[in-house]
């Protein structure tokens, strides 16, 4: 049984061991790299907040349940079922990227720029339930509605044991001690958003997965509670937070936010193993920082990118993720509620008053005991995880003096790339060297000045 909370805490309950993480994901399309991972899109301007949360739940839908402490009672129009594809889009747009260069012919300079390979992230978690209501436990059902394939109740509770009992009575399998974790949220007068899958409605969608849930509300707090999700988590959890704001970069105020290493030259063979590289690189950074750091993998204006790992998100897509300030339409001054997609034309590139910060963390309750608190800085310096592949020029040292010099220098460069890779990923340097196939420096006989080693041959030419 697993529990996972996010935002004002999303809590998934799972049943039995059947849904234990199988230890690896098989790549399909964009490879899912990280186990136990969740993705959250956090849209924030002033106190208006929209949170979209996606989990890669793969168990039986009837066993899915989600408990989310929220700052106030959410009404139906504040909840929406989002589009999974948009998570893939924002993931690929912000993912660390490889840039490929081909060394020019040293005798005839000419630069060729190629594309890049991108990597991916993913999420997974699970749940179960089937709610009924019971009073006298201090639990009040404040709202009850259905959105998309989800049946939702919004609860308020007077004390945590009552809430735990209510959830148990309504067949939510609760981890032990959950009331202790819930108590601080009740004392802060937060409400609880409980969702389960409406099987009939789900069948109608024809989808084989659950779509992300989105919430819109006002809250002074700019935070993402991760604390409760760790009650009975087995091992570290992985979290990607894409924060969409108007002004600047977002960082955590109660943990260190560090940029991932970037702009490093690494051996070209990594192109084939970029997913492994990204994963190993992230693991190595987590190890170095003793799992106490939030990593920033990307910060950029949403309107453009250089180089682009994917096309910038269109205005429509951004709205789908909850960005509510893109048009001056009839958006309410109070809470940013969802409306049907407007007909605005897709806008590729161009200035968009949207900045995206991609944060990535691996955490346990020992290293991240407190919920994530954020603040938006005024920093506008772009950042991306970018790794450079330089394919060596293949030619003869005899072609010209510059070629000889180039080939002489090449092994040193390749060695440095190998060392960079070893340092970034913690991979064995000797294994890397084998794969790199470090070029041999040109022999003396290949010196264009001394063809065949006979110095006089060029003398009277």
């Amino acid at each position: 049984m697993k529990t996972f909370f996010i935002f004002m805490v999303f809590l998934f309950f799972s049943i039995g061991e059947a849904y234990g993480f199988c230890g690896f994901y098989v790549a399909k399309g964009g490879a899912d790299l990280f186990n136990n991972a969740s993705q959250v899109v956090l849209v924030r301007n002033e106190d208006k907040t929209v949170i979209s949360m996606m989990n890669d739940y793969e168990g039986a839908f009837k066993e899915f349940a989600l408990v989310v402490p929220v700052p106030s009672v959410l009404k139906k129009e504040q909840v929406n079922v989002g589009n999974k594809k948009l998570f893939e889009r924002i993931d690929s747009f912000t993912a660390p990227r490889l840039v490929e260069y081909f060394d020019e012919d040293p005798c005839r300079p000419n630069i060729v720029f190629d594309g890049m390979v991108r990597s991916k992230s993913m999420s997974l978690d699970r749940a179960e339930s089937s709610p009924q209501s019971s009073k006298s436990l201090g639990v009040t059902v404040e709202e009850k509605f259905t959105v998309g394939e989800y049946d939702i109740v919004v609860l308020s509770a007077k004390e945590s044991r009552g809430l735990e009992k209510w959830l148990r009575q309504n067949k939510y399998t609760m981890p032990k001690g959950v009331h202790r974790a819930l108590a601080p949220y009740i004392k802060q007068k937060m409400k609880f958003f409980v969702a389960k899958v409406n099987l009939k409605k789900q069948a109608k969608t024809g989808l084989t997965y659950l779509r992300p849930l989105q919430f819109a509300f006002n809250s002074e707090k700019f935070m993402l509670p991760i604390r409760l999700g760790l009650i009975n988590a087995k091992g570290p959890q992985e979290l990607f937070v894409y924060v969409l704001t108007k002004k600047g970069r977002v960082e955590t105020t109660n943990y260190v936010t560090t940029k991932i290493p970037t702009n490093m030259d690494i051996p070209p063979y990594v192109k084939k193993e970029f997913s492994d590289f990204y994963k190993a690189m992230f693991e190595e950074q987590v190890r170095k920082e003793r799992m106490k750091t939030v990593f920033m993998e990307y910060f950029w204006d949403m309107g453009w990118c250089d180089p682009c790992a994917a096309d910038p998100l269109t205005k429509e897509e951004l709205k789908g993720l909850g960005v509510f300030w893109l048009d001056q339409g009839p958006s309410e001054s109070g809470s940013p509620s969802f409306r049907r997609r407007s007909r605005s034309a897709p806008m590729m590139g161009g200035a968009q008053p949207v900045k995206v910060t991609r944060l990535h963390l691996r955490y346990t309750n020992k290293t991240f005991p407190e919920d994530l608190m954020f603040h938006e800085t005024e920093d506008n310096r772009n950042f991306q995880g970018r790794y450079v592949l330089r394919h060596p020029w293949k030619g003869s040292a005899r072609k010209c003096e510059a070629a000889r010099r180039y080939l002489e220098h090449l092994p040193r460069r390749q060695e440095k790339e190998a060392q960079n890779l070893a340092r970034l990923t913690g991979w064995d340097i000797n294994e890397i060297r084998k794969k790199v196939d470090i070029a041999k420096p040109p022999k003396e006989s290949e010196d264009p000045k001394k063809p065949d080693g006979k110095w006089w041959q060029n003398l009277w030419k």
Binding site: S160, R180, A183, P184, K187, Q188, E220, K221, F222, R227, G248, E251, T252, T253, N254, Y255, V256, T257, T258, K259, K292, T293, N365, K366, P369, E370, H375, T377, E378, D379, N380, R381
Partner: protein
């Protein structure tokens, strides 16, 4: 007893403070990825030194007053972040000028760097990164150790501990009331920014009250304002706002509870690096 210690190591404590803050800055830039540009650092010092130079010339101050200006500049560089090049020098300019413009009985009462930061935070383009030092045990121990060493020499260690007592006491009460795990409290206790503030900012000997009762009221006020702004109004940078707000009452506290004001020890003040080295050499020779 303290006097005896002083005579055995008569160096201006501000050198040691500067050295520690300098090491912290280098460590921060290297290990913590502090988002500060070299140009910002240079401009801060340039602005700070020029402003101080102006006042030294005008008021015929001692050259050793540069030390305080350096400390102000280092504090700014350690704490303040900006997306442009003018915020830092402006903060240094405002901070150092505030010492000469905002006085009560010829004594400034705002911590210059706190006031400089407070003023530029009102403008666009600046922010603080309270999470930048993390909550590592080793760094925290070093901060407390050096902080105690320096605060003790300037007779302000009580301020640092009183503040921590009130702040952490308040935080602990809140956490216990809400039912949070103790790990959250420990995490907050080891926060590098908090310790830096306690030992290097609020304990500034020239701008904190002189009398013990004054110190209690002052630190209590800073702690309470910080807690309320952080956890009730969810305002970032509560520490700086609380210090600036509480500093307004320092002249009143000093008038109500009278005690001898702090003076940089005449013997120590301005002792040059050269004489310090000479002193240590003499110590080694056993003279």
């Amino acid at each position: 007893m303290l006097k005896q210690k002083k005579t055995s190591l008569s160096v201006d404590i501000r050198y040691i403070q500067l050295a520690f803050m300098g090491v912290l800055l280098s460590y921060g830039v290297l290990a913590f990825d502090l988002s500060i540009l070299k140009t910002q650092i240079i401009l801060t010092f340039l602005s700070g030194v020029l402003t101080q130079f102006f006042w030294i010339k005008r008021l015929k101050l001692k050259w050793s007053s540069f030390l305080s200006a350096f400390i102000t500049c280092l504090s700014l560089v350690l704490l303040l972040r900006s997306n442009n090049l003018w915020i830092h020098p402006l903060a240094a300019f405002l901070a150092i000028n505030s010492k000469f413009f905002i006085q009560y009985k010829k004594q400034h009462f705002f911590n210059p760097s706190a006031l400089g930061i407070f003023l530029v935070l009102l403008l666009d383009g600046s922010w603080l990164s309270p999470g930048q030092w993390g909550s590592g045990v080793i760094l925290s121990v070093w901060m407390v150790a050096f902080g105690c060493f320096i605060a003790r020499r300037v007779h302000r260690m009580d301020i640092a501990w009183l503040f921590l007592l009130f702040y952490l006491g308040g935080l602990l009460t809140r956490n216990l009331y809400l039912g949070y795990e103790m790990a959250i409290f420990y995490h907050a206790t080891l926060n590098g920014s908090l310790l830096l503030f306690a030992f290097f900012m609020i304990s500034d000997p020239r701008t904190s009250p002189n009398h013990f009762l004054g110190k209690i009221i002052f630190t209590f006020s800073v702690a309470i304002i910080t807690l309320v702004s952080q956890y009730y109004f969810y305002i970032q940078n509560g520490l700086i706002y609380a210090l600036v707000a509480s500093s307004c009452f320092v002249p009143l506290l000093n008038r109500t509870f009278q005690a001898a004001p702090f003076q940089w020890d005449k013997k120590e003040e301005g002792r040059s690096l050269k004489s310090m080295i000479f002193y240590f050499l003499k110590l080694k020779e056993g003279k």
